[in-house]
Symmetry: C2
């Protein structure tokens, strides 16, 4: 037997999460920033507490080469982060966004930032790089996904291809993330007719096996010939989407959810998705044993 | 960016996999055995090379207590396994089935067996027990999922709730399983209208993140008031089902697939779902570090 996860009732702690499916473009930093500002203001206007933005929202994605990327990347203390901090403070938001970061060490990172009304709370550098990111100037991160207590709950963060590694997602879940936020840029690939995109399927699985909410902000539009999926979605702790898909469109998807449900990992009288793990048997999955 | 996994062409090595969605009943061992025999003969007749049967196919599932289970469980050398060995040999099949095993150590296990034309190849004892299995007489296993070279490819095996632990599935995949077979008994739970059952979603994710085929044989019918999902499915290495669902019905689902596709773990020019893992960073997921 195996579960299908009815969620238990829990104390109300409703928060509204909005995922803004924007269309940033390489080389248009100020337009990208303006697009983000408008989306955040609009989401806040409609009651959002937590706003998730796409991967590399400040820079766009389809760089020709490492030089173009480096010219676009910004330091953490730069104008973009300062503006997001001001927005988060004024609107009492949590903002999670992808960001092309020029590190103090001179390297360029595909970074996620988590900002709340008190300021910058976490900087995370994508650990699993996708395709040309490996050859066009990004350095992979080596720190685990951050998990941060915010006014709206305990929130984890990772970036795009990181989501394809259930071990990485598990680490955030075991740190107590009630909501995992994922800025992504999902390229459009063919799929069988009638099938939901596999990227979303895998987000659903990540949510269910950890009884954790997941909010993904994808991007829309076409950039230098690259079509994007536009698969932004919010998935509940049972692993089912609570937002309708707006594939390919510039749109914001949002939902009001009770993140307290993620505290309850039980899925039957005697089963708990975390307590039932047998990590002592999972040899070869993590760091090598001595 | 993240993948959506177009599969590459590869040398043809087509095999036909059949998952028999039977309705075993507690206490009717000889009827259960007859039902299995007929299903295996019928699947072979229609060209199956690999036949997957449900969890606890010989015994049924809904035991009142540990005594009833113990009275039904059989040793590995008993009549059921001997019959399955004879069928596999005569019909040149691989048979993977769940089996209530009375161990030589006196314990009762929720076991999976893998049999090919040469005989019994692997015995696996479910490591993650579901609900009343914990209190009604089953002892959990502690050995990793077996992965076995057969005439039809390299095949891994685990049982039902084991599938909900991506670390466990990963271990079979890293051992080179091209096809993971999962005997299951999935109870019927409510789900949002229009949604595919979460158990199947999670099987799809397991397949895609490992570029490995997965074949699940669920059970049908109602047993002592317990309704079953009947969610048998075969999923390809891209993570999409290649069989239509026959939810709740007694039925066999089958597909002819090219397991060689599972050798190719690449999902973009520079990405490989296994080589891109960073196990040195996955601390806390597996056995504790010293």
């Amino acid at each position: 037997m195996t579960p299908s996860l009815p969620s238990s009732a829990s104390a109300a702690s409703a928060v509204t999460v909005a995922c803004c499916q924007l269309a940033p473009q390489v080389g248009r930093v100020s337009e990208n920033r303006e697009q983000i500002r408008e989306a955040v203001l609009s989401a806040a206007d409609r009651g959002a507490n937590i706003v998730v933005l796409p991967e590399l929202a400040n820079s766009g994605y389809v760089f020709d080469d490492a030089e173009e990327l480096r010219a676009t990347a910004e330091p953490i203390g730069g104008e973009t982060i300062r503006e997001w901090e001001a927005l988060a403070s004024r609107l009492r938001l949590v903002i999670v966004s992808g960001f092309a970061e020029l590190g103090a060490d001179g390297h360029v990172y595909n970074t996620g930032v988590l900002i709340d009304e008190t300021g910058l709370r976490a900087v995370y550098r994508k650990a699993h790089l996708w395709n040309a990111e490996k050859t066009r100037g990004f350095t992979p991160g080596a720190a685990p996904p951050p998990v941060v207590d915010t006014p709206y709950g305990r929130i984890g963060m990772l970036v795009c291809y990181d989501l394809e590694f259930p071990e990485w997602v598990r680490m955030a879940a075991l740190e107590g993330a009630q909501l995992l936020c994922g800025p992504v840029n999902w390229p459009l690939y063919p799929r069988p007719e009638g099938e939901r995109p596999g990227e979303i399927i895998r987000v659903q699985a990540n949510a269910a096996v950890n009884r954790m909410f997941v909010a993904v902000a994808d991007r829309a539009g076409v950039e230098r010939g690259q079509e994007w999926l536009g698969g932004s979605v919010i998935v509940d702790a049972d692993g089912y989407p609570v937002t309708a898909l707006r594939l390919g469109e510039a749109a914001t998807v949002s939902a009001t959810v009770d993140l307290a449900e993620a505290h309850d990992k039980s899925i039957s009288e005697l089963n708990d998705v975390h307590a039932d793990r047998r990590p002592e048997l999972y040899s070869g999955v993590g760091p090598e044993q001595p």
